[in-house]
């Protein structure tokens, strides 16, 4: 598409069963009751001048530009705050209105720089548009009087500037910060002529304020007062392409706004059904990694990991790799080969990687990063409901009355969805937080959780079972729902189990450390407070009882009848952009796409016939088992697309030992990541801006990813996998990812109705999309569970084997921070480091004082597995006895400390519970220094002089 602004109807859409008919400028218009005159006019093609109004924000009525005349009404009311009435006759253009608007606009312009020729807005300015719209031709007042010119520009934010002299104090930015983002960092400071937009407290600038740099204010600004630095630098974009963000599992839709091949800015797309026009600091601004100098653009090989890399042609890299693969297969058999699909790549790319491993390599040793994040979700929900995904769309939260949030920190991990959640909470929904840390949602501006259950890490199952105990023993179960929708006998067994006194909050308080009365109150609220919706994250899954916790959550939803309609449900907040999709695409070693087990011979035969190969009917190895087998010598080669297991997976020493033991490690990535230290083949990858395909977000929404520029490395990732497949003897001939999507649809019952053409037409689709659900499935299990009757699973609390003791008396739990993403490979290569340039250790004041540690002190963090050092942040956000850190920086390598304990059903690592000791330190440990030196050596690239 070309470059034009999205249509702006001035005020938000109103939904109503009642319709109102009125006349605007002689045209009869029918709109839902409650719609404003401004919006009604816009919907019938009119355009009432406006400045303070925009359809993403509630009407404000301050600029006085949108005045209209209404027959029979006195004065000239503001159309943005006037609701339509039946039979109303509105005039939007009259000589009187023209005069009034000109007068208003003249006053605005009298205190605004007339530097349109050099202004970065370059005509993309609503103020300029409206001045033209009202026919303003001159300004009588001049600049001799007091004005706001020449004020200092606030350039503190790395991504946008604030120029106060261009500000018209329309408050759109202030309202966007509150209404859209829910941070309330901005305000109008002063009164009357002294009014000015202010970030935070007096003396703050944008960077030092509470601003989270989501960009909502910049997007709302009608002038260039708030403007992206990239637009200031490169100028106004010339074209825009709608695509999907490649950061978290929310899956925001953006307009990639381009000037030639230069990406100028990413702007959230109002029609995006996951984000509804909102964004966060990562998706909106942190795309600079795509052209970062560290990016590798040529294939490289080396004979051993102690040698420098040699840049080679694609042909040489592929033939070298293919020869190695064939040789290993011949010597050790197909089961010595495997690979890892990427949750950052598209569905089509992921599908091809697992096809290459199953059909080309000949083994089922394929896994994906979901192994270390949400594999328990897949297992647990398939047991309870019959499908491995969340039950709702994101919009559903706006119908929730009680939100139970467990083991998730959406304001950091899923910020755009967190803003929707906060909006609903401000409307009056109640919040229960179950988390060892006092996350922001427990208490932040206009948000105050009804109950916070600061449980001891590792006791999720105990807490959830005690909530179930209260619901069942206090007679709060929804028996009618259970009898109709669930297996009654199984329910009775489960109810007997949870009713046992040993599952009461009072009995378990010693284990969970949560006051019994708080548990009882939370249980009553969830069971009786109206629509109850559960949202959860990795604080649920990354435990030795991750799968049990997911099933315990499903039990709670079923016992209270909170499933199968809007406002309720079980909602896993998936981590990476396409982790749902990578699971859907058959990335797990035991199943084919659509979650069908390999032992199902009919399914297996369907794939065999389509692919022209025979498939191994036995399950393959999971990632941790691959590493074990590598150490044992039975697993010799791995192809890793878009994952950095050395940094992201637990017990770094063991991961390194596994990788070092292999004969061939192929890393296919944007950067020489930590895993590449152990690779002998590097295939340069492409960014999400450089390819077509689809991502599937946490609400099962399949969304198009569109190429906005040519791949700097020469090929999209799906092409590289195809070249590798053909180099080992496959005969693949895909010319576009749409053909791969057709194959997925052909082989996957939940994708039958999905095609590239349909996604182009409809924007997105939520699976299942098939004969039974031709338009997709925003809400699942509406008339019945996928598996038939909902299954109550008895979930006994089993303490983790990881125990504290005299040597390791503290519990470490790990997580994420807003500005960084996963291993930080992308975000560390952007200006986001200004907010988080190193991993730090959060520690309670009592624990810090006992160890002689102060804010900023270096500390040694040691577990039974390993140790590292990092700086301490003293905070009561964590409870005594608990410490917390992130894993975004390889300099820290937090996973050198985490253990190989894992979920009983899926081997998802227990990142959230590690017994540790913290002691004062002088700086980086010997191991860290050795590691950094080794990494530096491993990244050497031998530059060969070109032949004469």
């Amino acid at each position: 598409m070309g470059y034009e602004r999205q249509a702006d109807f001035g005020t938000p859409e109103v939904k109503s069963d009642q319709q109102v008919t009125l006349t605007i400028d002689g045209r009869e218009v029918t709109v839902p009751a409650g719609t404003t005159v401004m919006r009604a006019a816009a919907e019938c093609g009119g355009s009432i001048p406006k400045l303070c109004a925009t359809d993403s924000l509630n009407q404000f009525g301050s600029c006085r530009l949108c005045l209209v005349e209404i027959e029979g009404a006195r004065g000239t009311p503001a159309s943005c705050t006037t609701p339509v009435g039946p039979g109303m006759v509105v005039h939007t253009q009259t000589p009187r209105l023209e005069k009034l608007r000109k007068g208003v606009m003249e006053l605005y312009i009298s205190d605004h720089p007339l530097d349109c020729l050099t202004c970065s807005a370059n005509n993309d300015c609503e103020l300029q548009d409206q001045a033209a719209n009202v026919g303003l031709r001159d300004v009588r007042y001049g600049y001799q009087g007091e004005n706001h010119m020449g004020q200092d520009v606030d350039t503190s934010n790395p991504y946008f500037d604030f120029s106060p002299d261009k500000c018209i104090v329309c408050s759109r930015c202030v309202r966007a910060c509150g209404e859209t983002q829910g941070t309330f960092a901005l305000t109008v400071d002063g009164r009357g002529f002294a009014s000015k937009i202010s970030a935070g407290q007096s003396g703050d600038d944008f960077l030092s304020s509470e601003c989270v740099s989501c960009g909502a204010c910049v997007q709302a600004c009608p002038t260039s007062a708030l403007m992206e630095k990239s637009v200031v630098e490169h100028g106004k974009p010339e074209r825009a392409v709608v695509t999907t963000c490649a950061y978290c599992g929310v899956g925001c839709t953006f307009r990639a706004e381009m000037k030639g091949e230069q990406l100028v800015r990413m702007v959230p797309w109002k029609d995006g059904k996951a984000n509804r026009g909102h964004s966060c600091v990562k998706g909106r601004f942190a795309w600079g990694y795509a052209n970062h100098q560290d990016r590798i653009l040529k294939p490289m090989i080396r004979d051993s990991i102690d040698q420098p890399w040699q840049e080679v042609s694609w042909e040489e890299a592929l033939s070298y790799t293919a020869a190695k693969i064939k040789s290993i297969k011949e010597t050790y058999g197909a089961r010595a080969l495997g690979g890892i699909t990427s949750s950052r790549c598209t569905n089509e790319e992921t599908f091809l990687v697992q096809k290459l491993i199953r059909g080309g390599f000949g083994s089922n040793n394929v896994d994906t990063c979901a192994r270390v994040c949400h594999s328990p979700t897949g297992f647990g929900l398939s047991q309870a409901f019959g499908t491995s995904a969340g039950t709702q769309d994101f919009d559903s939260v706006m119908d929730a009355d009680v939100i139970l949030l467990i083991g998730a920190n959406p304001t950091d991990g899923h910020p755009v969805f967190a803003s929707r959640m906060k909006r609903r909470l401000r409307q009056g929904a109640k919040l229960i937080v179950i988390d060892p840390r006092r996350i922001d949602l427990v208490r932040s501006p206009h948000i105050n959780a009804e109950h916070h259950l600061p449980l001891q890490p590792g006791t999720n199952v105990a807490v959830l079972t005690s909530i179930a105990h209260v619901i069942v023993t206090e007679g709060l179960a929804d028996e009618a729902f259970i009898r109709e929708r669930c297996d009654w006998d199984e329910y009775q067994d489960w109810a007997r189990f949870v009713s046992d006194e040993k599952h009461s909050p009072e009995y378990l308080e010693a284990v969970t450390k949560v006051p019994a009365e708080t548990v009882r109150q939370a249980a009553r609220l969830y069971a009786t407070g109206g629509n109850g919706a559960i949202y959860y994250g990795l604080g649920v899954t990354e435990h030795s009882q991750g799968s049990s916790t997911v099933m315990a959550i499903a039990n709670l939803a079923m016992v209270t009848g909170n499933i199968g309609r809007r406002g309720v449900g079980v909602n896993p907040l998936r981590g990476q952009n396409n982790v749902q999709g990578s699971c859907d695409m058959g990335s797990f070693p035991h199943e084919l796409s659509g979650y069908r087990h390999l032992s199902d011979s009919a399914t297996r035969q369907m794939f065999e016939k389509d692919w022209g190969v025979s498939l191994d009917p036995e399950p393959g190895l999971r990632i941790p088992n691959m590493l074990d087998a590598a150490v044992d010598g039975t697993f010799r080669a791995i192809y890793i697309q878009g994952e950095d297991i050395l940094q992201s997976d637990p017990d770094t020493h063991h991961v390194a030992a596994g990788l070092a033991a292999m004969d061939l490690v192929i890393v296919h990535d944007l950067f020489l990541n930590e895993t590449a230290n152990y690779a002998t083949v590097f295939l340069p990858g492409s960014t999400f801006l450089e390819k077509d395909g689809t991502f599937t977000n946490a609400e099962r929404r399949i969304q198009p990813v569109r190429k906005v520029m040519e791949p700097a490395n020469g090929y999209a990732d799906w092409e590289i996998t195809q070249m590798l497949a053909n180099a080992i003897g496959c005969d693949w001939n895909y010319t576009h990812p749409s053909e791969i999507l057709d194959e997925i649809a052909r082989l996957t019952p939940t994708f039958t109705g999905v095609s590239w053409e349909r996604l182009e037409r409809e924007g997105s689709l939520q699976w299942p999309v098939n004969e039974k659900f031709p338009d997709g499935s925003p809400i699942m299990h509406v008339d019945g569970f996928v598996r038939g009757k909902g299954k109550f699973v008895v979930t006994e609390y089993v303490p983790t084997d990881e125990r504290t003791g005299p040597r390791f008396p503290l519990l470490l739990t790990t997580g994420r921070i807003l500005s960084q993403y996963n291993v930080g490979a992308q975000t560390r290569r952007t200006a986001n480091v200004v907010w988080h340039h190193e991993d730090v250790l959060e520690m309670h004041p009592t624990d810090a004082e006992n160890r002689g540690l102060a804010d900023g002190s270096w500390a040694r963090l040691a577990s039974r597995t390993g140790e590292t050092t990092l700086r301490v942040v003293v905070t009561d956000r964590v409870a005594p006895g608990v410490v917390y850190t992130t894993f975004h920086h390889p300099a820290t390598q937090a996973n050198v400390v985490t253990t190989d304990y894992s979920d009983w059903a899926t081997n998802c690592p227990e990142y959230k519970v590690t017994a540790v000791q913290v002691t004062p330190s002088n700086g980086p440990s010997e191991w860290q220094e050795e590691y950094n030196a080794q990494a530096e050596r491993s990244r050497r690239i031998a530059h060969v002089e070109p032949a004469e």
Binding site: L621, V631, V794, E796, T906
Partner: protein
């Protein structure tokens, strides 16, 4: 004994412990099914060849059942 062998034992016992609330008979069947569905052949072979007496009763019976099934299919 390799560390992998130790891990296999731990995994089998962990599965059994988490399923034991279903009652002994069902837990044995569920443990066996879980291992059959999710373990790679070399992992199964590893635990089959191990000293099963060190396992918890549910895990041990589950592995014995799987071994018997495997022998039956091979015959």
């Amino acid at each position: 004994m390799s560390s992998t062998q130790e891990k296999l034992r731990r995994m089998a016992d962990q599965i059994a412990t988490n399923l034991q609330a279903r009652g002994h008979e069902e837990a044995v069947a569920a443990t066996a099914e879980h291992i059959w569905k999710f373990w790679d052949p070399r992992m199964k072979a590893g635990i089959f060849a191990d000293d099963l007496s060190v396992l918890t009763p549910i895990a041990r019976e589950a592995i014995e059942k799987l071994k018997a099934d495997a022998q039956q299919s091979a015959a």
